[in-house]
């Protein structure tokens, strides 16, 4: 067994030990993981963003306009002093504003309108049969929207629609749960495979 497998196996077991209870082995693994992952992010961000988008063009090619984002970025560090904390709101404002502006058309078009449009289907298909699934989708969408109607108490017709909406929601949650279990088990299979095959050589 090589060093890499040994190290990985010990750390794998240390993390699994949390299932019994919190313990020093888990705490070491946790601290190591947090530290390494922040370090990894730093390196990747430095290489792929700061170097390639900022420092190389600014100092290499002399693109002086980049001084502005550089300055805005540095203002983030105003957070470390109570007097300069307000400065850090400026770069945050750029991030939030730009994000909100870009979100509006996407939310309106790709999300709301496209999904509405896909809900509309002829209920009588060309082969002269009734389109039950299409009707169910329509009912499902409308009743679920009724569940998310807040302005009035859920009574009467609205109440009934909202109740049906809850059932549709529950079908969705249940189905999703089934698929998600599949995903989660795959991850565990991956780790067990590593322990049994690479570490213990019990099977191949």
């Amino acid at each position: 067994m090589d060093l890499a497998t040994g190290v990985a196996a010990i750390l794998t077991l240390a993390v699994f030990s949390f299932l019994y209870r919190d313990n020093p082995a888990y705490k070491v693994a946790e601290s190591l993981l947090i530290g390494l992952s922040i370090g990894y992010f730093l390196v990747i961000t430095w290489n792929n963003s700061l170097m390639s988008l900022l420092f190389k063009p600014l100092f290499g090619d002399g693109r002086l306009s980049l001084v502005i984002p550089l300055g805005l970025g540095l203002l983030m560090f105003g957070r470390f002093h109570s007097k300069t904390v307000v400065l850090s709101r400026l770069p945050i404002a750029v991030l939030i504003g730009a994000g909100a502006g870009a979100a509006i058309p996407a939310m309106l078009g790709a999300r709301t309108m496209a999904q509405m449009s896909a809900t509309v289907q002829p209920l009588w298909s060309e082969s002269n049969s009734f389109n039950l699934s299409g009707l169910i989708v329509l009912i499902g969408v409308i009743c679920t929207l009724a569940y998310f109607y807040f302005s009035r108490e859920h009574q009467g017709g609205l109440g009934r629609a909202a109740k049906v909406g809850t059932w549709f929601l529950m079908i969705f949650f249940g189905t999703t749960f089934g698929f998600t279990v599949m995903s989660r088990m795959s991850t565990l299979i991956g780790r067990v495979e590593f322990l049994l095959v690479d570490f213990l050589h019990l099977t191949n």
């Binding site: 190290v7 750390l11 794998t12 993390v15 699994f16 070491v28 190591l32 993981l33 530290g35 390494l36 922040i38 370090g39 390196v43 961000t45 430095w46 290489n47 963003s49 700061l50 805005l72 970025g73 540095l74 560090f77 957070r79 470390f80 709101r89 400026l90 945050i92 404002a93 750029v94 991030l95 939030i96 504003g97 730009a98 909100a100 502006g101 870009a102 509006i104 058309p105 939310m107 999300r111 709301t112 999904q115 509405m116 809900t119 169910i136 989708v137 499902g140 969408v141 679920t144 998310f148 059932w167 549709f168 929601l169 529950m170 079908i171 999703t176 089934g178 279990v181 991850t187 565990l188």
Partner: protein, 207 residues
């Protein structure tokens, strides 16, 4: 002024990006690119630096106060290790940086993820109770989905799986669609509120 200026900047950025979205003019397109690449990406990169620095600060203080000292030392050493390795040997496929990533970070992360499988088991045992009609519907559709994704052949493959597929393709999809529409509307109004300066939570406080 402490709040007004950021608020104005935020509103202007929002309106700018909104207009740029719809314009096909070359100047608008290059302006769009400028904001997205230079401003957005670079500022965000700095925020990650900020996160790392504040993580170091919090942990140094903890070490001073002798709280969880050994663990904090491990975390800080690990944080420093990655940039040092990258600086000396680079980040190519066979570098020590990638070795640590592949053999220490990835296995630990995958294992934390794999804990989920166990938590799915305990939550299924404890939480999936048919307390009401709605909970019953949740339970039954979960059971059907689980069965349909298992290779049991026979009755399940012929009857349960088609039913589960139908549930997924129509009722389940329609609920997800309504949630998408609802959240789309919510996101839309929040974005408009942020740009107009009505939503100011991000400046601290809601009033």
């Amino acid at each position: 002024m402490r709040r007004r200026l950021p608020q104005i900047v935020c509103g202007l950025m929002g309106i700018l990006l909104l207009i740029l979205y719809f314009s096909g003019h070359p100047i608008a397109r290059s302006l769009n690119l400028l904001v997205l690449v230079e401003y957005y990406q670079i500022i965000f990169a700095f925020t990650l630096l900020l996160g790392a620095v504040s993580f170091v600060k919090v942990n140094l203080k903890g070490i001073e106060r002798r709280e969880d000292r050994p663990y904090r030392v491990v975390a800080l050493l690990a944080l420093v290790l990655m940039p040092v390795l990258a600086l000396i040997w680079g980040i190519k496929g066979d570098s020590p940086f990638m070795w640590v990533f592949d053999n220490i970070q990835v296995p630990m992360q995958s294992t934390v993820f794999a804990l989920l499988a166990f938590f799915v088991a305990s939550a299924s045992f404890r939480g999936f109770r048919a307390r009401s009609v709605a909970a019953g519907v949740l339970l039954v559709s979960a059971l059907l989905a689980l069965l349909s994704r298992s290779d049991l052949g026979g009755f399940i493959a012929n009857h349960v799986s088609p039913l589960a597929e139908w549930l997924r393709d129509y009722p389940s999809m329609s609920a997800r669609r309504a949630i998408l529409i609802g959240i789309g509307l919510g996101s839309l109004t929040t974005s408009v509120r942020v740009i107009l300066g009505i939503e100011r939570t991000w400046l601290g406080g809601w009033k």
